[in-house]
Amino acid sequence: MQDALHAALLPQGLHDLLPPDAGHEAVIVERALASITAHGYERVKPPLVEYEAGLLAGVGAADRDRIFRLLDPVTQRTMAVRADLTPQIARIAAVRLAHAPRPLRLAYTGEVLRVVGDQLRPERQFRQVGCELIGSLEPTADAEIIALAAETALGIGITGLTVDLALPTLVPALLEAHGITGAARAELETALDRRDASVLAARGDEVGRMLADLVNLAGPVDSALKQFASLALPASAEPDRARLFAVVAQLRGRVPAVPLTIDPVERRGFEFQTGLSFTLFARGVRGELGRGGRYRVAASNEPAVGVTLFSDSLLRALPPPARTLRVFVPVGGDAAKLREQGWITVAALGPVDDARAEAKRLGCTHVWIDAAVSEIA
């Protein structure tokens, strides 16, 4: 028998946002979008639910185990609730906006839903804000997206920001060049994910040494790039390295104050990216603020690069919002005029004995008394 549910109990990973957090989130999302659209990215709005196959195409394959599926009673086809917006934006770019001029710059925000949260970030529903730049392979496109992501994060007040650059296609290229597959590959990947250079070095062969070097060089951009430049990589990995150097050089010009780190073996969550990828971190904040990178649009095979910021992480990383100034206006006060002056007004619905006490009870910071706004002590 099931225990009776408390009327307010929500499923794991789903929350109510209350004042002032709900308002704070909305403000953050608006500011992030304003920063993105100021760079020429135009809003699109895909639906919350679509056919499963569309959501899982291309880079959406990463969502295979985290989408909620439901049966469309009309068509008897499987639909799914999006777990990310990027696959939807890619679909829109490839099909509905196939004839729009390239490079195509699209911005979005929307709620996503996931079957499970992860251990560190248990939220199953949260809001994503992001942008995609479709139709260019130029390193300038990567640099534009990364710089825009960093500027946006700084613009909403994030402090201690770091951008970590990864090359998720590098390790697969190395392993393929050395013919490593199956269980041996899985073992190496586990060691790489734990950054355990000793297991790699213990192999005693060339690929082991190279992977250990890659693990050990991770860190601040200057020293990492110096070591990375001198590594002898197979030819198939050269384009990745060239892109990384080109993008770093541009980022130094665009966002000189943002610390960059390099982690060439980072691959978790980047399994379906097709090149340079990145993660935004903030000092002292658990988990990631956002992530992005290169991918191919499934329906058109166009090159694309994008970034997604996570509203729940951003909220965690920011100080609580400043106190909102609200003025209580008793019957007869000119609330409209106060709003014109920029006040938030809370109108009395009837006569009150003590306007000051009533204002305080309703959480107002000010009260309209004797034809003037007066602060409540």
Partner: protein
């Protein structure tokens, strides 16, 4: 407790270490990297959980070995010392284990009562009941050969379970093998060799690469000297 006044929030580094056996082996390593905890740290009677060191920017917390991984994964501690048994059990994505400290060596094994091991034919199993602290590793280990493991999660005294009929098999750490022998059990299969690792929180390493990377380097040098 608040950080020392000269430190801004987020500048403190917390090192999580496990209670018990491993701590004795870790102690010389701490000295070698230049960490001297306050006196209460070496006092087994002390109820204190959080310890200052000779370094104003570094504190040590002493917690259960499983909790070391949790504290570090969630960023409550930036550095930690945990066995790879704990890392295998939890598989936290936000944890790196860049260094094998070469201490706390033991193994994670399947054991069963001696008399059972005479007659047992593992190839006929479809289902086993196992008492363990490591349900995830155990399930994965048996699943890999097509056997469903029903795990009874215990937090200690695992070796008692078979003699009292709770189950027939256990998965637990074995170092000398004496506890098994005392309980009339034998080790039948080794799942993994275990040593203690230096573990690092991912966000801390990314956002404070010089400091955290510096500690990893110091521990690496000290471990190399030890070897």
């Amino acid at each position: 407790m608040t950080p020392p006044p000269n430190l801004a929030r987020g500048d403190l580094i917390v090192l999580a270490v496990p209670k018990g056996r491993i701590l004795d082996e870790l102690r010389p390593l701490l000295r070698a990297v230049g960490i001297e905890p306050e006196a209460a740290f070496d006092d087994d009677e002390s109820r204190q959980l959080r310890f200052k060191t000779n370094l104003p920017s570094l504190e040590i917390i002493r917690v259960r070995s499983f909790d070391v991984a949790t504290f570090v994964a969630f960023g409550a501690a930036q550095l930690g010392v945990a066995g790879n048994d704990v890392l295998m059990e939890f598989d936290y994505g936000d944890l790196y284990a860049p260094l094998d400290l070469g201490i706390g060596a033991c193994r994670l094994s399947v054991a069963e009562p001696s008399d059972l091991s005479q007659s047992d034919d593992p190839s006929r199993w479809s289902h086993v009941r196992v008492a363990t602290k490591y349900p995830n590793i155990t399930r994965k280990h048996f699943a890999a050969r097509g056997v469903t493991a029903e795990c009874v999660k215990l937090n200690g005294a695992i070796e008692l379970a078979p003699s009292l009929g709770l189950c027939q098999r256990i998965v637990d750490l074995v170092s000398s093998g004496r506890t098994l022998k005392d309980n009339n059990m034998v080790e039948v299969e080794r799942i993994a060799d275990v040593t203690s690792r230096l573990i690092v929180n991912r966000t801390a390493l990314k956002t404070r690469p010089e400091e955290i990377g510096g500690w990893v380097e110091r521990f690496r040098e000290a471990t190399a000297r030890n070897a």
